[in-house]
C-alpha cells in the first residue's frame, strides 16, 4: 500500500509542474493574442484624443493574464501608439479603455460592459458572444482559439480585419 501511495505521490509530484506549465502556456497565449488583436482592429474616430494617444487595455478578473501583459507590453507600439495596461475592479466603469478582457472569474460582469461604444470586449467563457462580448476565447483540441461577433463589433463602431477573421474559429454576423 505504502509503496503504491508513494507511487501516486511521486506521480502527482511529477504531474503538478506539467499542469502548471499548461496553465502558464494558456496564460501566455491569451496575453499574446490580446496584444495581437490590437493590430487587426480599427477604433472609431474620436476614440483617441491625439494621434499618439496610447491604446488603453483593461483586465478584469484574470490577474495571470494581466501580469503576462504587463510583462510583454512595455516599449511596444501598435498602429503608432504606445500601449497601457491596467487592472479593473468589479463595478469599475471601463471609461478610457479601448480593450477590456473579462476573465472567467468575473464572467457575470460581462453584460455590464456590453453596449459601451468603441470598447473591444473580450471574454473567455462559453456563450460570451450572446452576452455582448465581441471576441471570445475558446479551447479547441487543447489549443487556444477565438470566435468573433462582427455584428456586435460594428454596433460599437469597431472594424475587425478580415485577415484576422480568416483564422477565427467562428465568426458571427459578418459577411461570409
Amino acid at each position: 500500500m505504502k509503496r503504491s501511495f508513494t507511487r501516486i505521490v511521486v506521480a502527482l509530484l511529477l504531474l503538478a509542474p506539467l499542469a502548471a506549465t499548461g496553465q502558464a502556456l494558456e496564460r501566455e497565449v491569451k496575453a499574446a493574442f490580446l496584444f495581437k488583436f490590437l493590430s487587426f482592429v480599427e477604433w472609431p474616430q474620436g476614440a483617441f484624443a491625439r494621434p499618439d494617444s496610447p491604446i488603453a487595455l483593461g483586465v478584469l478578473g484574470a490577474d495571470e493574464v494581466l501580469d503576462e501583459l504587463l510583462r510583454i507590453v512595455p516599449g511596444r507600439v501598435v498602429q503608432g501608439r504606445p500601449i497601457t495596461v491596467r487592472r479593473l475592479y468589479y463595478g469599475e466603469p471601463a471609461s478610457g479603455l479601448h480593450l477590456l478582457f473579462v476573465g472567467r472569474a468575473a464572467g457575470s460582469a460581462l453584460p455590464g460592459y456590453a453596449e459601451r461604444e468603441g470598447l473591444l470586449l473580450v471574454a473567455e467563457q462559453p456563450g460570451a458572444l450572446e452576452q455582448g462580448a465581441i471576441i471570445n476565447f475558446v479551447s479547441v483540441d487543447g489549443r487556444v482559439r477565438f470566435e468573433v461577433a462582427v455584428d456586435a463589433a460594428e454596433r460599437r463602431g469597431l472594424r475587425v480585419s478580415s485577415r484576422m477573421l480568416s483564422v477565427a474559429e467562428y465568426v458571427r454576423g459578418g459577411k461570409p
Binding site: 493574442f33 495581437k36 493590430s39 507600439v77 501598435v78 489549443r143 485577415r163 484576422m164 480568416s166 483564422v167
Partner: protein, 616 residues
C-alpha cells in the same frame, strides 16, 4: 598555314573569308551579349517574382502566424501547388521553429528545421530565400521558399536557338559571298586574266570583258583604252619603221640610179669628142657630134636640176614664185621642150591647148616643169612609135591637164606609190629610159603647192597610163599684160647682141673659160679672172659694162666684190650679175643689197645670158 596561303592568293577566297569571318564574329559577340543579358534579366525577374511571392504569402499568413494557426498556414502554403517551379515552402514562427511546411509532389529533401536570417541564394538551377514576416514592426515569423530557376534549361534552349540562327546566318553569308564573287571577284578576275594574257603573249589586241558599271568596269575600260592606245601606237611605230625602211631602200636605189644616169651621157660625149678630133674635115659628122654633146649635156643638166629640187623638197625649201601668166604659153613651153625628144622616139603627139588670154596665178617655171615631167615620163615609158596626148584646158574655175600615153602603164595598186620619192615602177636598172625617180614626186609637190591635185590612172601594165592635174584658178579670165612664160631652152646663136665688154669672175676655170669662149663667139670682149682682188684690179682697166661674178670667190666673195665695183667710178653703172650654185631667197636679197642687178643660178643657160645681153 596552307589555308592562309590559299586565301592570300585569291581575291575570291579573300572575300569569302572576310564575309564568313565577319558574320561569325558578329554572331558570336551578339550571342554572348544576349546570353549574358538574358541570364541576368531572367535571374532578376525570378528573384523579384519569388520575393513577391514570399511577400504575398507572408502578408496572407500573418494572422495565422500571429494567432499560431498551423492549419490555416498550411492551407496558405498548399496554394503554391499552382506554381510548378516551387519545390519547398515553409513558415517559421517568431522563435525560429518550423511552423508550417509545403513540399511539391516528387520534390526531394525539405525545408531546414530552423529559420535563417533574410537571404536570397541563387545557384545554377535553384533559388532559395528566407524572408521575415513583419507586421506593425512586429516580426511574426519567416517565409522559406525554394524554387527551380530553370536557368540551365533556358540557357540550353537559348544556345540551341543561337546555334540554329548562326547556321542559317552563315549559310546566308556564304550565299552572299557567292553573289559578291559574281559581282566583284569575277570581273576583277576577268581584268586580271586579260592583263596576264597581254603580258604573256605580248598581244595588245586582247580586251578585258566589261561586265559591270562600277569601279571595276571603269578599271576594265581604262585597261582596254590603254591597250587600244598601245595597239595603235605599236601599229603606227611598225608602219613608221616600214615607211623608213622603204624610204631608205628607195634612197639606195636612187643613188644607184643616179650614178647610172650621170654616167650614161658621158660615153656619148666622149664618143662625140673623138669624132670631132678625128673627123675635122667632115662638117656633117662634126655637126652630128655637137648635137650629141648638146643633147647629153641637156640631159645631165636636167638630172642635176632634179637633184637640186629633190634637196629642196626634202628640206622643205621648195617655194613658188607666183605671177600672172598665160596658161597657153606655159603649156606651149613645156611642149616645145619635149617635142624634139618625142620626135626622136617616133611618137605621135596629139595636143590640145587652151586659147591665149587665160591668165592664171602660178609659178610659170614650176608649172611648166610639171607638164614637162609628165610629158617626159610619157615619152620615156612608151616604146618608140607610141601615141601621146597632151590636153590642157580651163574648166569651171579649174585648170585641167591630161597626159595620156600608150606606154608601159602602171601595175595595179601602184598608182599612188609612183608618186613617192625615188619610186620606180620597174626596178630593172637596165632600161635606158630609167630616170631618177623624182619626176612624179616633184610634180605632185609642185601641184600641191599650187593647191591642186594630181592622179594617175592605168588599165594595167602594158596598157598605157593617164595623169591628170587639177589646179583651182579662181577668177582668171582678166586680160592683163603677159610675161613671156619661159625662154626656149636653146635658141639659135644667130640673134646675138654684140659688142659688150664682159668681166667673168669665177674660180671654176673650166666653167669660166668655156663661158668666155661662148661669149667671145657671140662677138663680145671678155676678160676672165679667178679670184676677187684680181677681178677688182682688172675691172679698173678693163671697164666692163657687164660683169658675171661668182659669189663663192676666193679671197673676196662676190658680195664684197660687187660693193667695191659699185664704188669704182668706171663700174658704178655696169650691169652686175651674181652667179651662184645657191638659189636661196636670202641669197637673192643679199645680192640685191650688195648692188647686183641680176641673179643667176648655175648652170647658167646661154639663152638667159643672151636675153640679158640683148636687153643691155
Amino acid at each position: 598555314m596552307r589555308l592562309w596561303q590559299a586565301i592570300r592568293r585569291s581575291v575570291r577566297r579573300k572575300t569569302m573569308a572576310v564575309v564568313l569571318a565577319t558574320t561569325l564574329v558578329a554572331l558570336l559577340v551578339n550571342a554572348a551579349a544576349m546570353l549574358v543579358y538574358e541570364v541576368g534579366a531572367l535571374r532578376e525577374a525570378q528573384v523579384a517574382d519569388l520575393l513577391t511571392q514570399a511577400e504575398i504569402l507572408g502578408r496572407a499568413s500573418a494572422p495565422a502566424l500571429a494567432f499560431k494557426d498551423n492549419r490555416e498556414a498550411a492551407q496558405d502554403l498548399a496554394m503554391l501547388r499552382a506554381r510548378a517551379d516551387i519545390e519547398h515552402a515553409a513558415f517559421y514562427a517568431a522563435d525560429g521553429s518550423l511552423f508550417a511546411v509545403y513540399s511539391a509532389p516528387g520534390a526531394s529533401g525539405g525545408p531546414p528545421e530552423r529559420a535563417q536570417s533574410a537571404a536570397i541564394d541563387v545557384d545554377a538551377d535553384r533559388i532559395t530565400l528566407f524572408q521575415p514576416i513583419i507586421e506593425d514592426r512586429e516580426t511574426l515569423g519567416t517565409v522559406y521558399l525554394r524554387a527551380r530557376s530553370g536557368l540551365r534549361e533556358r540557357v540550353v534552349g537559348y544556345l540551341g536557338i543561337l546555334g540554329a540562327v548562326m547556321a542559317l546566318a552563315l549559310a546566308v553569308a556564304w550565299l552572299l559571298s557567292l553573289w559578291l564573287q559574281r559581282a566583284v571577284t569575277r570581273p576583277i578576275q576577268a581584268v586580271a586574266a586579260a592583263a596576264r594574257e597581254v603580258f604573256e603573249r605580248r598581244d595588245f589586241s586582247v580586251r578585258a570583258e566589261k561586265s559591270t558599271e562600277d569601279e571595276i568596269g571603269v578599271l576594265a575600260e581604262a585597261l582596254n583604252r590603254m591597250l587600244a592606245d598601245l595597239e595603235r601606237e605599236m601599229g603606227e611605230r611598225r608602219e613608221a619603221e616600214g615607211a623608213l625602211k622603204a624610204a631608205d631602200r628607195r634612197k639606195d636605189e636612187f643613188l644607184a640610179t643616179l650614178a647610172h644616169e650621170l654616167r650614161n651621157p658621158l660615153a656619148p660625149i666622149r664618143n662625140a669628142l673623138y669624132i670631132m678630133q678625128t673627123a675635122r674635115d667632115n662638117p656633117a659628122a662634126e655637126a652630128e657630134a655637137r648635137a650629141i654633146i648638146e643633147r647629153q649635156l641637156q640631159q645631165m643638166v636636167r638630172l642635176v636640176d632634179d637633184l637640186l629640187d629633190v634637196s629642196r623638197i626634202t628640206t622643205g625649201k621648195l617655194a613658188l614664185r607666183r605671177e600672172r601668166v598665160d596658161l597657153r604659153a606655159v603649156a606651149a613651153s613645156a611642149l616645145e621642150a619635149i617635142e624634139p625628144l618625142a620626135r626622136a622616139r617616133g611618137h605621135r603627139l596629139s595636143v590640145e591647148l587652151p586659147p591665149e588670154g587665160i591668165i592664171v596665178n602660178a609659178d610659170p617655171t614650176r608649172l611648166s616643169q610639171v607638164f614637162l615631167n609628165l610629158l617626159n615620163n610619157a615619152v620615156k615609158f612608151t616604146d618608140p612609135g607610141g601615141r601621146i596626148e597632151f590636153h590642157v584646158a580651163a574648166e569651171r574655175g579649174e585648170l585641167v591637164a591630161r597626159v595620156r600615153d600608150s606606154g608601159v602603164g602602171i601595175p595595179p595598186g601602184m598608182s599612188d606609190e609612183i608618186f613617192e620619192m625615188f619610186a620606180q615602177a620597174d626596178r630593172s636598172l637596165e632600161r635606158s629610159t630609167m630616170g631618177l625617180g623624182v619626176g612624179l614626186s616633184l610634180a605632185r609637190r609642185l601641184v600641191e603647192l599650187h593647191g591642186g591635185t594630181i592622179e594617175a590612172k592605168s588599165a594595167g601594165a602594158g596598157r598605157g597610163s593617164e595623169f591628170m592635174v587639177r589646179i583651182p584658178i579662181p577668177g582668171t579670165q582678166a586680160q592683163l599684160p603677159v610675161r613671156e612664160a619661159a625662154e626656149p631652152l636653146v635658141s639659135p646663136a644667130s640673134a646675138v647682141a654684140q659688142g659688150h665688154r664682159i668681166l667673168l669672175a669665177d674660180d671654176n676655170q673650166d666653167f669660166a673659160n668655156s663661158l668666155a669662149a661662148v661669149l667671145r663667139r657671140m662677138g663680145n670682149e671678155v676678160r676672165v679672172e679667178h679670184d676677187g682682188p684680181a677681178a677688182l684690179s682688172a675691172a679698173e682697166n678693163f671697164r666692163p659694162d657687164v660683169a658675171f661674178l661668182d659669189i663663192g670667190l676666193p679671197r673676196m666673195n662676190g658680195f664684197d666684190l660687187a660693193r667695191r665695183l659699185r664704188a669704182l667710178p668706171v663700174t658704178a653703172h655696169s650691169v652686175l650679175v651674181a652667179v651662184t650654185g645657191w638659189g636661196q631667197p636670202a641669197d637673192r636679197q643679199l645680192a640685191k643689197e650688195a648692188g647686183f642687178d641680176d641673179y643667176m643660178v648655175k648652170p647658167v643657160e646661154i639663152a638667159r645670158i643672151q636675153a640679158l645681153l640683148r636687153a643691155t
